[in-house]
């Protein structure tokens, strides 16, 4: 049965055009990823060049789609068919899922040699180490609780950095009065939930966020603080233009870049878009922490999950992993991508103002214990629960769920169902 199923899956993969991936060359790194937007593709080029210097060819298997859903489906088909890629971009609990299924490789030797366990934050190791074995190489740390503001618009309306949630609302009001779209939001469920992550941290504080969204404590999920968070979400959504539904995140970022909108609440991958558009922080755009979340970092991290490839392809994999976590690559890559290095000992010299801020924040949060996994990004809970959460938030934003009481009730039930 198993053999038959795998051949069926091979057929599926071949038909879907990924068939090339199985004719594996030993000097070749096959990488499945969904980094197809401008800033992301440029960032990936850095790694391509590093590896080609060592004589490894790069075989791209890009699967477009911002949240990586399509890529994960393709990956599942490849894994079911037994044609593992060398590595795949993966997020949080997905790595652990695959590790549990026994398809991940073991990089512990390389990790020891390179000293990963000392330099990579413990919060990340929770996802890159399974059962004592390194199964993934973290590429970066993104943090989610950022505001991205167009400086020209900010100057025009005479705004200043918001210190509290109410300040933010006042700022949005000013933008509205000046005839600018106050908030650029893409109406896809992961974007709405990403913004809600920040709102919950801002409304309930670090302890509350951890209890509700990392430990999934039912009392916290049901609490009045959670209801208040939904109320705040309802307040902020009023500042979105009517045409936001279904918009991609990078189009929302483009609205801020062009000055059509004042602010976007988004992870720091948005900075990659600003950089790709030749904009400089503090001159063309501003990056602030979401008001009320200073000192904490809601993170997600892109990881290269390393698959259990045959021995002859292992050398290429080790080279990829070593290159990925080398200080030079971590610096060069993250400068372009907008994120910060996945190891805390990388100098911040090459980074711009926002990057320097991000590195310092990550270090402080790592030491202060306020580094939390983003539920919207699959670092707070397994995919079934994270998706149930995104559903509820999205339905609330689009008005299918009408009150915060109802939203909380549905959130508790949805998470309970998905457990």
């Amino acid at each position: 049965m198993r053999k038959f199923l795998s051949s069926a899956a091979i057929a599926v993969v071949m038909v879907s055009g990924l068939g090339g991936a199985q004719a594996a060359d030993v000097k070749e790194v096959q990488m499945l990823h969904w980094w197809t937007s401008g800033g992301e593709a440029a960032a990936l080029n850095v790694l391509k060049q590093d590896l080609s210097k060592e004589g490894f060819a790069w075989k791209d298997v890009p699967v477009a789609g911002g949240g990586g859903d399509a890529a994960m489906t393709a990956l599942k088909a490849m894994v079911a068919a037994g044609t593992y890629p060398t590595a795949s971009q993966m997020l949080g609990y997905t790595v652990l899922d695959y590790a549990q299924a026994g398809v991940m490789g073991d990089l512990t030797e390389t990790a020891k040699k390179e000293g990963w366990d000392k330099s990579v934050p413990a919060a990340l190791q929770k996802f890159s180490v399974y059962d004592g074995k390194w199964v993934a190489a973290p590429v970066n740390v993104h943090s989610v609780n950022w505001l991205w503001i167009n400086k020209a618009v900010m100057d025009k309306i005479g705004g200043k950095q918001p210190k509290s949630f109410d300040d933010l609302i006042a700022l949005l009001d000013k933008a509205k009065a000046a005839g600018v779209i106050p908030l650029a939001l893409g109406g896809q469920n992961w974007q709405e939930a990403t913004m809600f992550d920040s709102i919950v941290l801002s409304t309930g504080g670090p302890e509350f966020y951890k209890k509700a969204f990392n430990d999934l404590d039912e009392a916290s999920l049901k609490s009045d603080t959670m209801k208040k968070s939904f109320d705040n979400l309802a307040k902020i959504v009023k500042y979105v233009d009517p045409n936001f539904s279904g918009r991609d995140w990078n189009l929302a970022t483009a609205m801020v870049i062009k000055g059509d909108a004042l602010v976007q609440v988004m992870g720091d991958w948005a900075k990659g878009e600003f950089v790709a558009a030749k904009k400089t922080p503090d001159k063309d755009f501003l990056c602030y922490r979401f008001p009320g979340t200073e000192g904490s970092v809601i993170y997600n991290s892109d990881m290269f999950g390393m698959f259990n490839v045959p021995d002859d392809r292992k050398a290429a994999q080790v080279a990829l992993a070593t290159a990925t976590l080398s200080k030079s690559f971590q610096s060069a890559f993250n400068v372009v991508k907008g994120s910060v290095p996945a190891r805390t000992d990388v100098p911040d010299t090459d980074f711009d103002a926002c990057g320097k801020k991000g590195i310092a924040d990550l270090k402080a949060a790592n030491e202060g214990g306020t580094l939390f996994g983003s539920l919207a990004q699959g670092y707070g809970a397994p995919p079934a629960i994270a998706n149930a959460y995104k559903d509820v938030v999205s339905k609330f934003v689009h008005g299918q769920i009408k009150s915060s009481d109802e939203a909380v009730k549905q959130l508790v039930q949805a998470i309970d169902d998905a457990r």
Binding site: M72, G187, A384, S394, K395, G399, Q400, Q410
Partner: protein
């Protein structure tokens, strides 16, 4: 003579043997040629149906698991429907299915028939008009979806264009509206399929014996009566087969929703097929996804089986 007589018996058994292998081969040829596709269909259609049914009774998550755990997945599906304040995703999906199925099939049939009747009036340029109406069928749903998505987007398409022409009070944002987004799917679907329905009806109309119509006209039937009492009833078999084609297209419709609405605001444009794909492949809830797939299969069977039954009964008669 004698040589011929001696050679003949030597040749005949060989020839006879050759003939019998050949004729046996000829007999078996259809079966041999059909066997691979039969086996493939058996495995990839019916085998996987059984497999999906089995999975729906397990607790499969990311990857299939083979341990039976009872009908929990089905209970979850239906509990969402009846006990939750709407709209749970499954509830939304089946409500949308009903709206979409009813309107899509209904409008396609009506519009297709109307177009066919008009084209049948021996108008000039029919050769040009027919392919124009039929052409949308050649596009895939993805293309239809993307094209209509741009056309209906208030910031890009119709609304924006009319605003440019000065009609600034014009407002059409169904595609961004949770309550109306499913109707935009109907619009795009109808645009795509009504030409095909027209072609089917046109073929049917052309197949009707002209003598019957002449006889009716001599009896004094008006064109309206002619169509209502004679022609449309004669088209019954076409109605049935068109209905079957449209109904199963409606139930399995997936790509149109994705391309046109990417699921709609808050998942409000989902059809059961979207639900199935989401839960099986994106949410790692394979058991729930399989359960919804089985329910879809039962819905389709509820349409197809009576049809097949009536067809077979007619043949037997």
């Amino acid at each position: 003579m004698s040589t011929v007589a001696t050679t003949d018996p030597v040749l005949t058994p060989e020839q006879a043997g050759g003939m019998s292998i050949r004729s046996r081969l000829q007999d078996a040829l259809p079966k041999i040629v059909l066997a691979p596709s039969f086996v493939i269909t058996l495995i990839f259609v019916y085998g996987f149906i059984v497999w999906t049914a089995y999975l729906s009774f397990t607790n499969s998550k990311t990857f299939p698991s083979y341990e039976l755990t009872g009908a929990r997945a089905y209970q979850r599906l239906w509990r969402w429907t009846f006990e939750n304040d709407p709209p749970s995703s499954w509830y939304t999906s089946i409500t949308n299915m009903a709206i979409f199925g009813f309107l899509y099939v209904g409008i396609c049939l009506a519009l297709g028939l109307l177009l066919a009747i008009l084209l049948d009036q021996k108008i000039r340029g029919e050769g040009l008009l027919r392919p124009i109406f039929l052409y949308p069928m050649a596009l895939s749903f993805i293309v239809t979806g993307v094209a209509w998505k741009w056309f209906l987007d208030p910031g890009l398409g119709l609304e924006q264009t009319l605003h440019h022409f000065g009609w600034t009070s014009f407002h059409f944002d169904w595609i961004k509206n949770k309550d109306f987004v499913i109707y935009t799917v109907v619009i795009a679907g109808v645009w795509q399929a009504s030409g095909f329905v027209m072609a089917m009806f046109l073929a049917g109309l052309r197949g009707i014996d002209g003598e019957i119509m002449k006889a009716a006209q001599i009896d004094g039937a008006s064109p309206f009566q002619l169509y209502r009492r004679i022609i449309i009833p004669l088209l019954r078999p076409i109605f049935l087969s068109t209905f079957i084609v449209l109904a199963h297209m409606a139930i399995k419709s997936y790509d149109l929703v994705v391309a046109l609405t990417s699921g709609g605001p808050g998942g409000s444009a989902w059809l059961p097929s979207n639900f199935m794909y989401e839960y099986t492949f994106k949410r790692n809830e394979m058991a729930v996804g399989s359960a919804s797939a089985i329910i879809m299969l039962m819905t389709i069977s509820a349409i197809i089986v009576p049809y097949l039954y009536s067809e077979l009964k007619e043949k037997a008669r």
